[in-house]
């Protein structure tokens, strides 16, 4: 432990190397226990569709907790005060909760699917499939880049190593344990990493609280907060942080292949239990970590270099002992690894099932060995691309908000495709493209939001509010309740939103994307006579690999071969 000159403490170079070798080495050893000499292609993508509750809930929790979400929650607490972490963590948690009723329907329609895009192919055709697969790939690339940046920044802040050395350690370590067994390695190591992460959270938050002064800090620091920051029902926090995230709840859930992959992997009767547990686990962890930002606000801590992403490492380096600082490093490395390995398996599944399996190989003739090769090459290329983008230090959270809105344009067409026979491939494709054409000029303010333009944007945003809340209600309570919720939400929001909401371009852009894709899709479909037999999907989507999936011994354990 050596001072770094900025009043913080660093871990020594060999200590950091030891911790990284311990973390990635033990994770790699774990994958040797489940690795097979001849992996099954379907197992590589969904682990045989029968993963148990403990592993799948642990994996879902670990996947959704990523380093950037920890940093963003603390930033929200520091910026918006005591309600900030709630407005980040609660809505992020609801992304997991609100997907499960739709997930049960998707799983019933396509029990042996590997990706959501694959189901879109069976339901509509190539253009819908590739739009969804493309947005999934972009989202996962943004996510993996963000995690590499978070890891590199943390290592450069807490050790003598540079940012570039940090991202190389992280990228190499994750690829090492993910490459051979794919999703099976990801889901098992996630379940183990979640114990390290959650265990660290349980220890670190109270330790920092009392080390920073405990209740005395809250008494003396109260004067440092603005009235909005000390208000639990802060309108500023809701409009700037909460509302855009509520709008993104369904978008992230639908647009993220890492969630879909776990929906297809978990035993079908355990979907509800798994996703509710992951909701609570994610929410409590991320809101709890966000409290470090609130504590920094009360303690009067100024973020290093003015960058609020430095707040969490700064609080840790200021208030934790060397041993706890090591545990903190493992917590962040665990958070970013568990998400990055999930993104790697998500991208490899899309390339295996959607690109090779359904668009390159002849129908019914996909070669499982070629498929596995495609999956592994995808992981290597994606890691290389992630390291390249990370070295450019792009503003990831801005990119993520942008991707979230892109996914927003897909939400209604995707969900409707699983319930409504009349949705056609043409309606799906056109509605998404038109929604994007509306979203881009609003989000990036290419046109002035004055006069009639502002009012039109506000009216569409109000419809977007109805769509978002209506779809949320539809998942749990059905169509009748959804219509009532949507109607009440629009009537209630209109007096406040019209003439006002266009000033918040992130929020209104996202809501307009929802509204336009819904309106276009609905009006292109409601009068047609198209019918669709949903039972036909399960006949068209099945296993690519008929080699033994469940028989561990036949396929040769890697560990047995090495012994």
């Amino acid at each position: 432990m050596v001072p770094d000159g900025a009043g913080l403490h660093q871990l020594g170079g060999w200590t950091v190397i030891g911790l990284l070798v311990l973390f990635f080495g033990s994770t790699f050893m774990m994958t040797l226990f489940i690795g097979r000499k001849k992996e099954n292609a379907d197992g590589y993508m969904t682990a045989g569709n029968k993963v148990g509750f403990g592993i799948s809930a642990g994996s879902m929790t670990a996947t959704w907790i990523w380093a950037s979400s920890m940093y963003a929650s603390a930033t929200s607490g520091y910026t918006y005060g005591i309600s900030g972490p709630i407005h980040y963590g609660l809505w992020g948690a609801l992304m997991i909760l609100f997907i499960y009723p739709f997930g049960k329907r998707i799983r019933a329609v396509a029990p042996k699917a590997h990706t959501l895009a694959e189901v879109m192919y069976a339901r509509h055709g190539k253009s819908s499939q590739l739009m969804l697969a493309g947005s999934n790939i972009v989202g996962s690339m943004v996510s993996i880049t963000s995690n590499f940046i978070a890891g590199g920044a943390l290592i450069s802040l807490l050790s003598p190593f540079s940012f570039t050395q940090g991202i190389l350690f992280i990228g190499g370590g994750i690829l090492l344990y993910s490459l051979w067994s794919g999703f099976r390695a990801s889901v098992l190591t996630d379940a183990i990493q979640v114990f390290a992460m959650l265990g660290a959270v349980v220890i670190i938050i109270p330790v920092v609280f009392f080390a920073a002064g405990g209740t005395d800090m809250l008494v003396t620091g109260a004067s440092k907060l603005t009235p909005q920051q000390s208000n639990f029902f802060s309108s500023e926090a809701f409009l700037n942080q909460g509302a855009p995230y509520i709008a993104a709840v369904l978008a992230y859930a639908i647009g993220n292949q890492t969630i879909a992959q776990r929906l297809f992997a978990v035993r079908e009767d355990l979907i509800k239990k798994t996703f509710i547990t992951a909701t609570v686990g994610y929410g409590a962890t991320i809101i709890g970590i966000g409290m470090l930002g609130v504590m920094a606000l009360y303690a009067g801590v100024a973020p290093l270099d003015g960058d609020t992403n430095n707040l969490i490492p700064q609080m840790a380096a200021t208030y934790l002992s060397p041993v706890l600082l090591g545990i903190f490093l493992i917590m962040i490395i665990g958070a970013l690894s568990s998400t990055a390995d999930s993104d790697l398996s998500a991208m490899s599944s899309i390339m295996m099932a959607d690109i090779y399996g359904q668009n390159i190989a002849k129908k019914g003739e996909a070669n499982p060995k070629t498929m596995l090769f495609v999956g592994r090459i995808t992981m290597i290329v994606a890691t290389g691309a992630g390291l390249y983008f990370a070295s450019g230090k792009l503003n990831i959270l801005d990119l993520l908000v942008f991707v979230g809105a892109l996914w927003g344009a897909l939400v209604f067409p995707v969900i409707a495709s699983f319930y409504w026979q009349k949705v056609t491939n043409k309606a799906f494709t056109v509605s998404v493209l038109v929604a994007l054409a509306f979203f881009l000029p609003i989000r990036f303010e290419w046109i002035p939001m004055t006069g009639a333009t502002g009012i039109i944007v506000d009216v569409l945003s109000v419809i977007g509010i109805g769509v978002v809340l209506g779809l949320m209600a539809f998942g749990f309570f059905g169509l009748k309740t959804a219509k009532i919720v949507a109607g009440v939400a629009m009537v209630a929001a209109a007096p406040f939103a019209i003439g006002f909401l266009h000033g918040y371009t992130v929020l209104s852009g996202s809501l307009v994307a929802y509204a336009v894709s819904t309106l276009v899709c609905y009006f292109m479909c409601f009068s047609n006579n198209a019918t669709f037999d949903f039972d036909s999907i399960k006949k068209r989507i099945g296993d690519f690999d008929d080699r033994a999936e469940a028989d561990h011994t036949d396929s040769g354990s890697l560990l047995e071969k090495k012994a």
Binding site: G52, I55, A57, T61, L188, I205, F209, A284, A550
Partner: protein, 43 residues
């Protein structure tokens, strides 16, 4: 918000996380035992 409730608000989250850890840990151990008993791979 009073200091008491603010303290409770900050420290309640690690307690909830500990509860989730217990549930996940218990389920994970049960799955390992079931896999051993039935002679099948864990995943």
């Amino acid at each position: 918000m009073s200091v008491f409730f603010l303290t409770l608000y900050i420290l309640i989250w690690p307690v909830i996380v500990a509860g989730v850890l217990y549930v996940l840990g218990k389920a994970f151990i049960q799955e390992i035992r079931a896999a051993k008993r039935e002679g099948r791979p864990l995943i």
